[in-house]
Amino acid sequence: MSTEQTEPHVPAQRTEEPDLSAAATASTRLLEVEDLKVHFPIRRGIVVERTVGHVQAVDGVGLGIDSGGTYGLVGESGCGKTTFGRAVLRLEEPTAGRVRLGGEEVTAMKGERLRRFRSRMQMVFQDPLGSLNPRHNVDMLLSEPLKVHGVGSKAERRKLAVETLDAVGLPKSVLERFPHEFSGGQRQRLGIARALMLRPDLIVCDEPVSALDVSIQAQVMNLLDELQDEFGLTYLVIAHDLAVVRHLSDRVGVMYLGKLVEEADSETIYERPRHPYTKALLSAVPQPDPEVEANRERIILKGDLPSPANPPSGCRFRTRCPWAEDICAEVEPEWREAAGGHKVACHFDL
């Protein structure tokens, strides 16, 4: 992928703020992402490929997660949340920006150093069947990360696999079984167990429960909670379901078309959303209560997500925003602190 810079580098808007608090938070801040960008080139041509534009999947996102905390990233399909999660883990090459995990700059690492460092950051995928090799039994699936990183002897790896299985609520007897023999919920437990095998600091959970039935979703969410306490994990949870994110996270960021539009503590953002998009999202989530449903006012957004290859000028949300005015098309709203720890990118105080 292209790493060339096609536009002048925009200085990160939020660099002033961490410097002051850096000393105080250095011990607790595990992940620090600054102005991360991932642009995918659009190529045309048969013999000679020319780059005719860029899909700005992630366009300047910065956030921080404290050790032992959970950051929830929400947004609709196509907003860039998955690409962001992958770029944090260097599974996608960032175009610009910095990612620091435990003080070490992940974006500056290369080759063997990066490969070794990967043991500290793992991922849980959405589709548990698609992310488990169908020809590997559970023993092989769980031992593989240890083998890759040269951890332990065969017997030790097996012992660790059994311990981890126990932690995710699966019996030792499943070691010889293959992914197709499990139910969806059990497969997701395996996916989580695999991510845990190297005892990482950070786990990026990309839509960890969306493929599961409701009653199983709750089991997996509770499991993630328990494991966080047990192993001292830090999570970046990426999901489209606001209720799931609220339940799992301490801090929530809302993404729209490659940018964060709002960020706050999870309690605050649901009680007092400040960005029109967050308001619309929250009002669109159906609540399992007919009384609430009958009385609520719904903000129905018009139209679909614009193309991230050619985002609207000014505020990216303005084409669908019920409150949009002229200024929204002209000036990009700055990422500002609206109240203590509550950040929003909107011209208005809604």
Binding site: S183, A243, R246, P286, Q287, E293, R298, D304
Partner: protein, 357 residues
Amino acid sequence: MALLEVEDLRVAFGASTAVDGVSFSVPEGKVVGLVGESGCGKSVTSLAIMGLLPKGRGRKARQPVLAAASEPVGSGLKATAAAPQSIAASGGRSRGGADVNGRAVFDGTDLLSLAPAAMRRRRGKDLAMVFQDPLSSLNPVVPIGRQITEVLERHRGLKGDKASKEAANLLDRVGIPDPTRRLKEYPHQLSGGMRQRVLIAIAVACAPRLLIADEPTTALDVTIQAQILELLKDLVETEGTALLMITHDLGVVAGICDEVNVLYSGRVVESAPVRELFARPTHPYTIGLLGSIPRLDLPIHEPLTPIRGSIADVIRWHDGCAFAPRCDRVAAPCVEGEPALVGAVHAHRCVMAEEVA
């Protein structure tokens, strides 16, 4: 009498029973929900009503009715039509076909006993269906305009310009901007929400009296889901269409349904008017489902109370309550024979309900 009365519907695929005696009714201008998790038989129920299941060995000589031109067919159901005569003669295994028994009375006619040709005349006209995955339900190599006019030609006899004009009207009605241009586009050129709108346009093209929507918003984003649910609500209110809503999402149920039937392992375990169901859930499965959903309007660290085990842990209804292996209230009477569905307006299938209440 309601527009659609389903009585004791049973569907079996060979030895495994998917739907085990389901009864409910859908009155005109009302939205009735079938709720449950994967494998509970909710989709099979809808396909059976529409006559879209491949034929098994049981019942009268009904041909597989998958070739109907007017509506899209869910993927994976094709090509499973067994050779009916030979299997019926041997009385042996059915090869992938479904044995459908019971009645589905639509406006006085039992749909399940209709001949395929008669069913084809009704399907798409009197009753229509919206599927979950709009991309695999639309023909990828045919422009969407053609897919809509096909229904109009077949059932309403509209041709040429008249049909195209009506198709554009329909697209406009389901909220697709610039409908005349869109008619020439192919499904892959549309977004997920638009495809679902096209599917709804096809379904309502002949102003059906009954619309079956099988997880119509599951594949969509929440803001688009809100648009589609508004559209469906509007149809029910303005046209008096009866809507059978099949979903796993209790939030969607709370927002759109008037009556709800909760399915578990092929049977209705609880049925009630929507407010009643949410105010006083009685069956432990319903209670468990409600306890499993994180809610936006409750305190943030309210712990979830999931149902333990998985849908694979069942016993046969014949031997007791199929939910017993996962139930927290399970007691001896639960596994002593079939629990009956008791109650009229708010009915439940739990022998322990009275003790607890």
